[in-house]
Structures are given as structure tokens and as C-alpha cells.
């Protein structure tokens, strides 16, 4: 792809011509109304249609009949490589077997339809692109029909399409999309297109296998780590063992003596060792002697942090939501509980990496990123060049989970700094130790809960929840998300919980603490702890009220029928209320996040002193479900991610240093621990929600509630550890 495509400096016509030359076939570019903006949270529809985006291309039809889709989003496992082409083809009516997919370059044309950056996150892709990619398909189809109609001298209305052909029944004429693409590209864009009514959908809702499987099962898929450029060096960077530490002095001699090492030099994040290949760079780093200034966080200790957070939770914090008179309702002997969750690393299978090639006044970056234009801007600043001269090549992501949507572009910025010190292209690679110890974790959180039941002891009368955790966005360009002292990523899933807000007296408060540990969004963000706490404590209240956990929840969810229906579906499919097999316990949980609702019924046992999850019955309501096969995969995936954290994962710090370093002591879910999972997808015509994250939050409480049912032990800390 030529730089011109990403630079935004060309007129639409010039762009079309450029595309025509480059593509070998014909490129069809068009305006796409930013229709999804009406979905932008509560802002409502704009008074007049927003200015049309600059010329953009999401689709290229080749003279060889190939259909190439450019993704404005990153494929990191969630399946968008397949979902967005499906949305196009719902309207385009091309031959699915001819589809190819590419990541788009970083450019304003590919900005998120809601946020002013190019990004993938928040489980937003499907719903935010639901109109734009269908419009892309519809406009292209209209142009192809118009081209055919002009050739044949018939009215467009006399033509139809079928699997990559335009047909005109009078005269039995037929032309392939590839043969029409050149003519279609010269036609004026239609001012508007009508999208199919849902009743006519043939693609949306049809289980569809992934388009990226062939390259991913043959080793051909290119991840960031697989990028190889002529003359490229590979570098690793020695990072401070404490957060905020700095290099005092270092001795490069031993590192330079390692055969293959080409350069050893300081960068803002530590000391870089660049070599002919990874192994030499790593051996060079092992040989380095560095004297560190440990910085202000050398005393950091997670056990102490939990204790100080518990103390802080005794006092009032900033109010996220409040109603009624909680103080009075809690005056007499409330039920009280404290919950805690640890720092967590994302630990994507592909360690972080980024390749940079500088040229005079410009540069190219290859990386698996969720934050294209953020990274682009950061690299531009570091290298002192305009952002549009930083070309971002998005590779496949070997997992993202939020780690590759870094507000500070940490691993990309580091690569830019390393590249600045070299006159050759360089790939900067993080080892697994670097990843586990390198920060940007799911924040540690402590919750203090107090509740009271009504005088009959049947239903909750009051709920107070104090959350002590760290803000992800404070002090960053995303700080505008903070409203009235509340970072929503700290309280989401609690302050807006239908359970909590349905209780007459309720109050959710936040103490946002800066621990010095870099924190970030970790698959499902705040919901990753609030769901555990809220659903566990609701379960505690159900047992305190001596009521069946499902029946107790039904009363609380009267005003949230959609949530209730999902829970009811999972419960029915799991046989809730039927006898539990001997030695097993059942627990349930439901949680809404990212526009979707997921409920689980978990069936657990204790085997050799360990919690063993045998079976999970799942239900999801994600509104319109574009690809049921993909949605099921994402529920399984989110569940597995959350279950690993529920059973195993924990980062601890002593004397400022992260204790864990690799998968032997930072444990995640393994195959033999994967329960049998049955996923039931609610048929819905509600607005599409997310799928990548909503499966994660409810698994920890479903399992914890099942453990309580089986053992009577209420486990209030993650990872879950039996007494």
C-alpha cells in the first residue's frame, strides 16, 4: 500500500486513480456517512449529518474477482477479520470464497466511528461498524449495478446481483464484479443507499468460519514478531527492576563482547542491546552490568497495599452513585464483607514487540497494535516528524486483551527510541519476563461491602460498596473520562449494576489510589473485579435471606428483564433446581458489560484440594448476533481468560520488585482445566453489543458461588484459594 493512502493528502479522485494503479484491479472508494455516531452513548443524533469523512477505502474489487476488505480494526483473535467482511457481504452479494482481508493503514479515514482515534477495544468493533461496513457493501453493489446497466443500456432497476455477478434477466445478461470494477470506479457515488431490512438478511446471523484460518494453521500468518527486514537488527531492553527506576550507570563492555551484539546504549526505558539476532541480544543483555536508581517505588509491597486499601475502605470516598439513606438503613448490624483482587498481567501469547525502519524525514512501524493513531502520534513526537509520515503496518496480534492499547504506547515508543540510536531497522522484542514484570496491569482492588436486609429478612434494603483501586486514565490524555472524581473504569459493573441500583438505599464510593504501578485495561476492565464482588455479595445476601440464589435474583432484576432472561436461560439449560451430582456444587452469576449480557451456571468439585470446574452452561444476549460461531468462540474465550485469573493468576510485589516472571509462577488456564462449556445465544433484534469481553466478568463469581454451595466456604479473594 503506498504511503499516499495513509497520508490523507490526496483528493478522492486522485486516490481512486492511485488505487486503480496500485491494486492491479480497480479500487472502489466512496463516502461513508458516519451513521454510527447516533449510537454514541447518550449524546443523541447530531443536528445535521456530520461532515463526510475524507476519501476512504474499505473495499477493493480486483479484475481477478478478488474482494479485498480493509479493516479499520485489529484482528487479535476476536474474529473481526471475518465479521466485518460478513457485514460488507450482507449488502455486496459477492462470492465469499474470493474474500481477502488486510489491516488498513493508520489514517483518519479509519478512525473509530465513535472515538476520534483508530483503535480496537472496549468490545466496540461490531456495533460501531455495523452500519459503516454494510454501507460500504451497499454503495459498491449500487455502483457495480450502475456500471452494468450503463453497459447494457438498461435501467439499474432491471438488474439484480448473485454471488459476484450482476444479472439482467431480460436478455439474460451477466457480468462479473471483477469485469465491472473499472467502470464502476468512474461513476459518481450515490448520495444515499438503502440497507436491507433485517428480514432480508442472509449473512448476518449465519454461523461462518473464520477467514484467517488458512494462514494461522500453516505458520504463514505474520505477527509482529515475525517481521523481517533487510539489514534489520533485533534489540532487547533491560528495564528497571522497580517501577519508575532509572539507570544510574552501566558497563556495556561484557555485552559488547557477545558475538553478534552491534550496539549497547541507553534509552529512556533502560539500556538497549541491539544484535544480529534475538539470541545475541538476549545474551548481551544478560551480560550487562547496570546500576539502577530504584526510584520512588522501591518499597512497594502488594500485601501492604491490600492492608492500606482495607484501611482506606473504612472511610468515605468519592460518590459514584447514591440513593436513599444508606447510613440509616445500615445503622443496625449490617452484613459486611471485604473482597480483594490482585494485579494481573495480560500475558498475551505473543510477547510485545515492535519493528521500526527510519528514513529521511519519515518512518515505518510494524507492530500488532490496538491503538494505531495513538502509536503513530507518539512515534512522530519521538522522531520529530509529522504523524502522517509515520506509516503503521498492523500485523496480526498474538493476543491483545487491552495490553496492546497502551495509552503511553510503551512498547512502540521504546522501539522508536531504540531506532533513533541506530542507522538500521530494528525489531525490539520483549521476553516473557519483560512482559510479566513490565507493568500495565489490571489494577489491584479492594472492595468493602455492607448491606442490610429488609425487616422480614427477604430482600436487600441497603447496599454500600467502597472500592479502593487505581485509575487507568488519570493523568493521561484519556483523563476526560473522569467525571466528578470518578474514573468509570474503576466502578463500572458496580455503580450501574441492576442489583445495586434496584436497592432503595445504595451508595457506591471510590478511592482512586496511585500506587506507582502502571495500570491498564485488562479484558473487561473494571468489570473484571466488580462482577466478582457484586455477584458474590448478592449470593451472600441470598443465603443470608435463606432463599434460592436464582429466586432471590429474580426479585432484584424485576426492572431488568433482559438481564433476568439471560440468567433464566442459563439456569434452565443447566437444570438449576435439579439434583446436583454427588460431590459437585452449582453456582450462578449474570453480568452486563459492553452492551451484552452473559450468565453462567458453573458446576464445580474439589479434587485433591483444588477447585475443579467441570461444566459451565452459558447464555449470552449480545443483541443482533452477526456470527453466532464467533460469538460462541468469544464466550468460551472470555470464560477461559477469566477462569485462569479466578483459579491461578496473581502478581505480587516485594521490595518494589515483581515476584513472578513467567508462566511457571504466573499461571494461566491450561487445557486440562477447561470445563465443558455450552453456550446458548439469545435470538435478539436489539442493537448489537460486544462479544470479546462480556464473557470474562461472570465466571469468577459463578465459580466462587458454586464453591460456596459445595463447601460452605465463601472465598472473597482472587485467585480463589480453599481454606
Amino acid at each position: 500500500m503506498p504511503r499516499a493512502m495513509g497520508s490523507g493528502g490526496l483528493s478522492r479522485r486522485a486516490f481512486l486513480e492511485t488505487g486503480a494503479v496500485v491494486g492491479g484491479g480497480l479500487l472502489v472508494g466512496f463516502f461513508v456517512p458516519a451513521g454510527m455516531r447516533r449510537f454514541a452513548f447518550a449524546q443523541g443524533a447530531p443536528a445535521k449529518p456530520p461532515a463526510l469523512p475524507p476519501a476512504n477505502a474499505f473495499l477493493r474489487i480486483g479484475s481477478d474477482e478478488s474482494v479485498t476488505v480493509l479493516l479499520a480494526h485489529s484482528e487479535m483473535g476476536q474474529g473481526i477479520w471475518t465479521t466485518l467482511p460478513m457485514l460488507i457481504n450482507e449488502e455486496l452479494d459477492a462470492d465469499w470464497g474470493r474474500f481477502h482481508v488486510e489491516h488498513a493503514p493508520a489514517a483518519a479515514a479509519y478512525h473509530h466511528t465513535v472515538f476520534p482515534i483508530q483503535m480496537t477495544g472496549g468490545s466496540t468493533t461490531t456495533w460501531s461498524e455495523f452500519d459503516r461496513y454494510r454501507q460500504v457493501g451497499a454503495v459498491t453493489r449500487a455502483l457495480l449495478i450502475a456500471a452494468a446497466a450503463a453497459q447494457w443500456g438498461v435501467a439499474p432497476g432491471e438488474c439484480r446481483t448473485a454471488k459476484g455477478f450482476v444479472l439482467c434477466d431480460p436478455g439474460a445478461r451477466k457480468a462479473s464484479y471483477g469485469s465491472l470494477a473499472a467502470a464502476a470506479a468512474k461513476l459518481p457515488q450515490p448520495a444515499s443507499v438503502a440497507l436491507k431490512p433485517p428480514g432480508d438478511w442472509k449473512v448476518i446471523g449465519t454461523p461462518t468460519r473464520r477467514l484467517d484460518t488458512p494462514e494461522k494453521i500453516t505458520g504463514r500468518a505474520v505477527f509482529g514478531l515475525d517481521v523481517r527486514l533487510p539489514g534489520m537488527l533485533t534489540a532487547v531492553v533491560a528495564h528497571s527492576p522497580t517501577f519508575g527506576g532509572k539507570v544510574k550507570r552501566f558497563d556495556p563492555a561484557a555485552a559488547r563482547a557477545v558475538p553478534g551484539v552491534r550496539a549497547v546504549f541507553e534509552v529512556p526505558s533502560g539500556v538497549a542491546v541491539a544484535a544480529d539476532h534475538f539470541w545475541a541480544a538476549k545474551c548481551g543483555r544478560d551480560a550487562l552490568r547496570i546500576d539502577w536508581d530504584p526510584g520512588p517505588h522501591a518499597g512497594l509491597d502488594t500485601a501492604e497495599l491490600v492492608e492500606s486499601s482495607r484501611r482506606q475502605a473504612q472511610s468515605a470516598g468519592a460518590v459514584a452513585v447514591a440513593a436513599g439513606d444508606v447510613e440509616r438503613a445500615l445503622a443496625a448490624a449490617p452484613l459486611t464483607a471485604e473482597y480483594a483482587v490482585p494485579f494481573l498481567a495480560h500475558a498475551p501469547m505473543e510477547p510485545l514487540n515492535c519493528t521500526v525502519r527510519r528514513a529521511a524525514g519519515s518512518c515505518e512501524v510494524w507492530t500488532g497494535t490496538q491503538f494505531q493513531t495513538v502509536d503513530q502520534g507518539r512515534v512522530a513526537t519521538i522522531l520529530g516528524i509529522p504523524p502522517d509520515l509515520v506509516e503503521i503496518h498492523t500485523t496480526f496480534l498474538g493476543g491483545g486483551f487491552g495490553r496492546r492499547a497502551n495509552i503511553a504506547s510503551d512498547f512502540v515508543a521504546e522501539a522508536a527510541h531504540v531506532a533513533k540510536g541506530l542507522d538500521r531497522p530494528v525489531k525490539v522484542v520483549w521476553t516473557r519476563d519483560d512482559d510479566i514484570r513490565g507493568g500495565y496491569y489490571r489494577p489491584l482492588a479492594v472492595h468493602r461491602l455492607e448491606a442490610a436486609l429488609d425487616p422480614a429478612g427477604r430482600a436487600p434494603l441497603a447496599w454500600r460498596q467502597r472500592i479502593v483501586t487505581s485509575s487507568i486514565v488519570a493523568g493521561s490524555p484519556f483523563a476526560s473520562m473522569i467525571k466528578d472524581g470518578i474514573d468509570p473504569t474503576c466502578v463500572e459493573g458496580a455503580a450501574d449494576s441492576p442489583y445495586v441500583t434496584g436497592i432503595p438505599n445504595h451508595r457506591v464510593e471510590l478511592h482512586a489510589v496511585d500506587t506507582g504501578v502502571p495500570v491498564l485495561w485488562w479484558r473487561s476492565v473494571g468489570h473484571s473485579h466488580t462482577a466478582f464482588v457484586v455477584e458474590s455479595f448478592v449470593d451472600e445476601l441470598a443465603h443470608a435471606a435463606k432463599r434460592d440464589p436464582l429466586v432471590f435474583r429474580r426479585a432484584l432484576l424485576v426492572k431488568s428483564p433482559r438481564v433476568w432472561q439471560v440468567l433464566e436461560l442459563a439456569a434452565a439449560k443447566a437444570g438449576w433446581g435439579s439434583p446436583v451430582p454427588p460431590g459437585r456444587g452449582r453456582g450462578l452469576a449474570v453480568h452486563e458489560s459492553f452492551g451484552s449480557i452473559v450468565a453462567y451456571v458453573a458446576e464445580v468439585a474439589v479434587e485433591e484440594g483444588q477447585i475443579r470446574v467441570h461444566r459451565v452452561t452459558a447464555a449470552i444476549d449480545c443483541g443482533i448476533c452477526v456470527n453466532p460461531l464467533g460469538v460462541r468462540a468469544q464466550v468460551e474465550s472470555g470464560l477461559a481468560f477469566g477462569l485462569g485469573a479466578a483459579l491461578h493468576s496473581e502478581l505480587t510485589m516485594k521490595e518494589g520488585r515483581v515476584v513472578e516472571s513467567n508462566f511457571h509462577d504466573y499461571q494461566v488456564l491450561r487445557l486440562h482445566e477447561m470445563p465443558r462449556v455450552d453456550v446458548h445465544v439469545v435470538r435478539s433484534r436489539e442493537r448489537a453489543g460486544g462479544a470479546g469481553e462480556p464473557g470474562t466478568p461472570p465466571i469468577a463469581p459463578a465459580v466462587a458461588n458454586a464453591v460456596f454451595a459445595l463447601t460452605g466456604q465463601r472465598l472473597r479473594r482472587l485467585p480463589l484459594r480453599l481454606a
Partner: protein, 162 residues
């Protein structure tokens, strides 16, 4: 040191440091990037290759230890990506991010060579060393069973035991 590595049936003369793990000889010297780096300490299985048909974690043992042995990487498993295990992976729609799948597939190939009709317990035992952060485990299990069927159908004489 100089040594001869036989990878996917092809003999390569390579010059590598004595202690360079096979993984990096494959990736950085031979350019075979289908074999992945995940942990560097044989904890995740992303670097799994077959050596004389057995699964080996290529990230911890030096390339020199494999001179003269028959090394198979994901690139060499089949010419068209249609090995029964790859076909099963496609049918069951296993992959997500895909990063661990080279190692998963080769571990499955080795398992099926040893046990043409593996039970769930066999799969657990053989493949729990291969991590997948996307949690494709349920589909991996289903795909191994499906691959066993495809393999049996392709070579009924070879499976013998059933």
C-alpha cells in the same frame, strides 16, 4: 559453530552460537517464523516442533543438539495445509489469535501418531503444556477427536487397533 540442520526434509548448513536454542536458529537464521516464541523456558509450548516425530520445545535446547535429526516445523507439516489435523482445525474453527496454534497443531500430530484414537484424558496429558490465552481449549479437544477420525478415514490400514 557450523552444523547441518535437516528441517522439513531440507538440509541447511547453519552457523550459530553454541548455545543458541533451536527456536532462534529456525526463526532468525533460517527465517522459518511459523515456530513461535512464547516463554523461553518450555512453559507454554508455542515453540513446539517435531524431532523424529516427537514433540520438542525448541526454545530451551540448543540447535546443535539436533544436528542430523529430522525436524518438522509447521511450515513442513503439509504442502497445502491439508494435514488431517489442519483440516480438523479448519472444520472446528479452532483458531483465534492463532499465535499458539503452530505448537498446538504439532503437539496434536505427535499425540495422534502415538495414540490414533486418543481419549480426553490422553489429550489432557499430551497437550496441557501448550498454553492458549484465547482459551480455544474446548475446540482443540474437539478438533483432535475430529482429526483422529479424518486420519482413520484417510489411512484405515494404518490405524490397526480399532
Amino acid at each position: 559453530m557450523n552444523l547441518k540442520l535437516t528441517v522439513n526434509g531440507q538440509v541447511h548448513d547453519v552457523s550459530v552460537p553454541d548455545d543458541m536454542p533451536l527456536l532462534w536458529a529456525l526463526r532468525d537464521v533460517l527465517g522459518l517464523t511459523g515456530t513461535k516464541f512464547g516463554c523461553g523456558m518450555a512453559q507454554c509450548g508455542a515453540c513446539t516442533v517435531l524431532v523424529d516425530g516427537s514433540p520438542v520445545r525448541s526454545c530451551v535446547r540448543p540447535a546443535a543438539a539436533f544436528a542430523g535429526r529430522a525436524i518438522t516445523t509447521i511450515e513442513g507439516l503439509s504442502a497445502q495445509g491439508d494435514h488431517p489435523v489442519q483440516r480438523a482445525w479448519t472444520e472446528v474453527d479452532v483458531v483465534q489469535c492463532g499465535y499458539c496454534q503452530s505448537g498446538q497443531i504439532l503437539a496434536a500430530v505427535a499425540l495422534l501418531a502415538a495414540k490414533p484414537r486418543p481419549t480426553d484424558d490422553d489429550i489432557d496429558a499430551a497437550m496441557s503444556g501448550n498454553l492458549c490465552r484465547c482459551g480455544t481449549y474446548q475446540r482443540i479437544r474437539a478438533a483432535v477427536h475430529r482429526a483422529a477420525e479424518l486420519q482413520a478415514a484417510a489411512a484405515p490400514a494404518a490405524t490397526g487397533r480399532s
